[in-house]
Symmetry: C2
Subunit: 477 residues, 2 copies
Amino acid sequence: MEMPPVDDFALAKKDALVTRLGEVLPGDAVIHTVEELKAYECDALTAYRCPPLAAVLPRTTEEVSAVLKVCHEMEVPVVPRGSGTSLAGGALPTADSVILGTSRLTDVLEVDYADRFIRVQSGRTNLSVTGEVEHEGWFYAPDPSSQLACAIAGNIAMNSGGAHCLKYGVTTNNLLGVRMVLMDGTIVDLGGAHMDAGGLDLLGVVCGSEGMLGVVTEATLRILPKPEGARPVLMGFDSNEVAGACVADIIKAGVLPVAIEFMDRPIIRITEDFAGAGYPDCEALLIVEVEGSEAEIEEQLSTIEEIARRHDPVELRRSTSEDESQRIWLGRKSAFGATGRVADYMCLDGTIPVSELPRVLRGISDLSEKYGLRVGNVFHAGDGNMHPLIMFDANKPGDLETCEEMGAEILKLCVEVGGCLTGEHGVGVEKRDLMSHQFDAADMEMQMRVKDVFDPSWLLNPAKVFPLDVTADRRAG
Amino acid sequence: MEMPPVDDFALAKKDALVTRLGEVLPGDAVIHTVEELKAYECDALTAYRCPPLAAVLPRTTEEVSAVLKVCHEMEVPVVPRGSGTSLAGGALPTADSVILGTSRLTDVLEVDYADRFIRVQSGRTNLSVTGEVEHEGWFYAPDPSSQLACAIAGNIAMNSGGAHCLKYGVTTNNLLGVRMVLMDGTIVDLGGAHMDAGGLDLLGVVCGSEGMLGVVTEATLRILPKPEGARPVLMGFDSNEVAGACVADIIKAGVLPVAIEFMDRPIIRITEDFAGAGYPDCEALLIVEVEGSEAEIEEQLSTIEEIARRHDPVELRRSTSEDESQRIWLGRKSAFGATGRVADYMCLDGTIPVSELPRVLRGISDLSEKYGLRVGNVFHAGDGNMHPLIMFDANKPGDLETCEEMGAEILKLCVEVGGCLTGEHGVGVEKRDLMSHQFDAADMEMQMRVKDVFDPSWLLNPAKVFPLDVTADRRAG
């Protein structure tokens, strides 16, 4: 992974920068010693690390504005950071940048059940948003696996999804408005608790913009009434192809479960060894979950099981208790952790048309043989959002590079069948060199011209999303 | 209503333009005689009329591209037109412009049930999209009142909603991708059948951009399984306030009906005289509709009726048959037509927080007295999208102007309580002078800079959305 060249001038002005930041923030909100900065040198894509010049932890929109004004004046790039759970290096610093952390922006500002929204500061964790409203029977729908830790700020930056987004949509479908600070310190409000206002929908383009357009400090989020109950059914099949066909048939039949999760043999084994969830010994496993009242659950599961039976399942087990439901989900939820126990791995995020699942799974298997690296597949099958885990040995010279190369081939395959590079993790630094496989030069130019509008000097979240040479040209003006 | 100055030069070059257009289109696709152009001089906001230089009716994306190239070279503005059902003058020509009609772009290009989408040319009508998939039990959710006539192209331009958008969202929540032609003739693809791709979400900003960024020629739309059944309940109340409070309580309770429609006394009377739907004699009426299986319908209606009873309804009547359901909806669906029979009217589209319904209804009533014009209210209450109908006499000098002035006051009130100028009709020419009440100069400048990116010469849909003086400055460069 190539990193942008370090700006020596920026390093030289570190002292002046820290002094200026100290003037606009409380003392404990400016972090600048080498030891303390260790915590900010990477996010969850730990293969890449780089200490920033400094990190700041503002408490208010006004403090964020003050920080950005200082950095704008001094021409210092700023890397916004939610909770640092990005799997794509979305919060990876550059050596000449300041990390702007949202961890102190955690207030709940307003809850309004009649208008079905909650307004929070953006550093609040995803799960604690639901925590604020669940006693009244409501919840916030997007549920990334990292929801205990990840911040709404990062969810907005990456347009995060989760297991339940098949039914409820991703962040952009649940985000009503933001307060955002532009790189020059200007505070803007986009959207709001009301419906889409007139004029251009700038909120739409901000969601998923990976922190490149502004720093979101407050978010107005749609909350929904909690369904009465939920229940999963576990299905095992003899091949990935048959499991993929079953997914397509469930959706074609017009049943919309809240989640359809897919695990292949390598992941089933690794997970079962670790979590003992009672998964059967088979080639492919589906967990299909439905929601609603008892009557609704009964009706949907009957339809789904009837479809499954047509595909000769080797296992078809409907959960009969809350305990059993939790056990079924336990395996799925520990899949990443369990894989991490047996190998280093890289988690991809390609998304494809559901009907192409069998073809892409075969292609991944072929690439696994070609490159000699094991792959496990565990993913949100209902919306075609795949998460191939490529396993490698970080201590074996060249293995990471082979893994990266193989990952790139898999993502190109996803684009080839009509899909895209990333479903919910973002491009970050990880996939920036693949952007030209998804977009031609004219498409990318248009996106970069929109970036120009918000951040003309290209100081916000540098070296992300777009190929490095292109970004360098842009910053040079 | 002020109109932009006519460019005499443009008029002078009409012959050359018609010749050039004839070179890139079949003969019957270029309309240029004064008589034939009559059909294009206004949309559904019939108070404003202006014949264009010419109108073209291309059949393919390539023809659209050829037309735009010609107009771009000759610096002739282009006004895209769906079916011309805009209530805000979104398709109103200027005297120096070419109307680009989508009425021949009606093909269905692809239907894919496993991936839950349909791809159509953009001139296809809203209802005929559902028509293409309903035999398999699917439908396209957004349902503007004009759905029999209105085109998907216009739905995307205005980000249209409809009675059912409380549950299913508006166009932006159901649009997956577009093929679009920029003013210089470049063809671009944004989004697609897959999830949100990496990079900036330009699709989000195109949806609702009122034809100012490009001409959409194809759309990939999310289709959904049709619910088993639906049933409305009719409720009458003694005052608007009580009806408003009942709406808020239903939503707070976590029930999400597919529609909550509100009618006040003037509309109830006008509608009843016309349609004889059997509405009770009361101050305010709600139609609340729920969907699902028999068991789900039963459960939801019981909860809703229990809440209604706490507000002392003067009528509470659950439909017991398909006939009765149709009769209940008949009144609501004929409300606009019935009003048109007794007076000229202007239909507003302000949107407010649901909790502010009582306050805004009182404000509208006060303004009605102040200006001496009758107002009827009939609207989508569940998401606060109001449609006050201000009645006036087009033959009485000054009455239209009074009506416009009063309409502006109502919309300002909507913004004041935290709402916005338009829910689903768009800004068009109708509300462009009010944009500065919703957005400050910095907000508008940001939007206009995004417009600059897509259409640097400001030739697409001129004189819309932004105040006229601002637009003129922009075009002058």
